[in-house]
Amino acid sequence: MTREDAMTAVGTVKGPGETPNEYLFIAPDPERRVKHGEFVYYLAAVDGVERAILGRVTGRRPVKLFPDSFLADPSVPPASVAALLGYESDATELFEITVTVLGYHSPQLGDFINPRVPPVNGAPVYIASDELLTEVLSKRRRGERGSAYIGSLLSRPEDAAPIVLDVRGFTGTHLAVIASTGSGKSYLAGVLLEELMAPYNRAAVLVIDPHGEYGTLQEMMNLREFSEGDYRPRVRIFRPDQLRVRIDTLTLADLHYLLPPLTDKQYYQLRRAYQMAQRRKHYTLEQLLQAVREAADSKKAPQNFEEEEEDVTTMGLLWRLNGALRNSHIFHDFENLELNELFRPGQCTIIQLNEIDRREQQVIVATLLRRVYQARMDTAKGKLERGDPSHLPYPVFCLLEEAHNYAPANADAVSSDVLKTILSEGRKFGVGIGLITQRPGKLDSDVLSQCMTQCIMRITNPIDQNRIAESVESVGRDLLKELPSLSKGQVIVSGASVNTPVLVRVRRRITQHGGQDLDAPAEWLKWFEEDRPAAEERAAALLGDKKIHYEDDGDVLLA
């Protein structure tokens, strides 16, 4: 939208709306410029200074339309019926537009200030120019330190009004990306990661990637867009077979969670054994098993029949511990993923959890989060020396895909507690969390409400919509109504990283997108074109002159 377009009034103020921060204006809008979600403004004097009071269009009601009877014949335009009667003007429509006032933007406060007085009746209303919106909607300018350019305003042409998130906002007070499958949430996460790793951010990021779809981010290391001077982002991928969790970092709750169901006696004995093992700084599985046996010995009762029962308890517990820990390549006596290898400014670490059992995934995430939170606390309090593998003298950001698996609603997961702790208190110690989920209805509501920046994409499930409405306060009801109608790559961004909720068209990724769906028909056709002739050739070579005949029931005949 050019400045000249923006200077032409689109409507005239009618008066106050239903709520104190709404007003109504009347517009003929023949060119349909006053779209739902569009930003408009009126001019008003505030404390002696003329200000552009910005607002968002949230409703549109026709107040003048051709009578229904004029629309009786689809082949006859109603305007021609009116012309027949003598009404020849093209002024045939009039709309009452509801606007929710945001206020005028104060660069000092970096926020909108609502004048709390409705506009005067008859005041002209203008559509905000691209320049004005670029200036006031985002907290940061594109490319500056702490900025994340994620796309542009949906109601404007591509790139006309860029939307730039404040990285400090979402890494400090957490981020939630909520979207149903296929609406582009991984793509958006990729865009965010690209921005975090750009030379103007150089973040220390960890990505929990249960589907192995973020591997393409490695391209960043070789792309010119991401390098500046001697800076070049590093992307480290930890594949499932490289993951290690040292056994002595597991808590009693982790052990209890990993093991098959325990009896009360077994749990009691495990707790005693765990406490005994904890007396050492480090211990191995064998030492833990030994502690279980010792715990049993110290409890031995004099009667023989009870002794037998104790043995059953001990044996069961040993069997369970061996089954869960000895046969897993993840839980290890000595090796661990060291924090200073995982987190480093300018490094994006991707933990791929595909092919790993759900419970093990949860334990891996729980131990990692617990360790990083503890490390940040200890570093902040000066308990860790420089050179210690857990010494983390910089804030970190963890992005969790399929977050509903790690903090499910109405279910118990070992990772829930630590996630909730970090979401409520991580801000103080510089541990930021980004949650990505396609089922907000399955995500713990406390977890969702702690994320102060929200990126919400298409959601059609009513349960999920309700959960968003309950947990996300910053998005108005008018915007939530848009959720089912959003297209792929369109996102509502709200909360601490933007000045006001905005509808955004996500920008193109610089790196390849790794989370695309498999094109099954194309693969099937490819088999006919390439693989099958090759297979037949091989078969022919093996069988010599014999020909293959397929019978109706699938049997193969050689002739």
Binding site: K64, P67, S69, F70, A82, L85, G86, Y87, S89, A91
Partner: protein
């Protein structure tokens, strides 16, 4: 140039609603043409007692007086001979104009829109306003058109008020081309309410 009188005030229905009888051939050497007293025409009634003061009105209705109407029986005198035997009888047929008073020119020639304090008297002559006078009657100090008598017209609840106002606006659009947008808003509103909405 001032136009010749087209008739005289013969009756009033209210302070602003007058009946003007159009001069016929016996009353003036130049009887007016029907185009002179067409619907929507602006007229002036000079007040004899107040020199220079003229009420300004709009022709909103036309009525034909015909005493013969309803006398369906045969007449002794043929129509052609009535003029010879009863000349006064012909004088009883008349064209009456409904004129609504929408303002006045004061003694200094200053135009005022609205209800005048003074009323016209019986037999007060009525003449058409010239284009210059129509312009002078409607222009304000800033050179913009004014239609302050619109509420007065709308309050009459007369069936012909909407077409009357539209005719006035069309005329003013020619006189005030720079204000056509404003006049068009008013005209579209009237047209919508009087044409499209009743056809609902």
């Amino acid at each position: 140039m001032m136009h010749r009188p087209i008739g005289k005030i013969v009756k009033s229905n209210s302070h602003v609603d007058y009946v003007c009888q159009v001069y016929n051939s016996g009353e003036t050497p130049h009887p007016p043409d029907p185009t002179d007293y067409a619907f929507g025409g602006f007229v002036a009634a000079e007040l004899e007692a107040h020199s220079g003061v003229a009420l300004v009105g709009l022709i909103y209705n036309t009525l034909l007086m015909n005493p013969e109407f309803g006398s369906l029986g045969p007449r002794l005198s043929p129509r052609d001979e009535v003029e010879i035997f009863s000349p006064d009888y012909l004088a009883e047929t008349a064209t009456l104009l409904g004129v609504i008073c929408i303002g006045w020119f004061d003694a200094q020639g200053q135009a005022h829109q609205g209800v005048p304090a003074l009323a016209a008297t019986v037999n007060c002559p009525v003449r058409l306003l010239s284009t210059d006078e129509i312009y002078a009657f409607h222009v304000d100090a800033a050179g913009e058109p004014q239609l302050r008598y619109t509420p007065l017209l709308l309050a009459q609840k007369h069936a012909l008020v909407a077409p009357l106002l539209m005719a006035v606006i069309d005329r003013l659009s020619g006189l005030f081309p720079h204000s056509r947008n404003r006049l068009a808003v008013m005209r579209n509103n009237l047209a919508w309410k009087s044409i499209v909405q009743p056809a609902r």
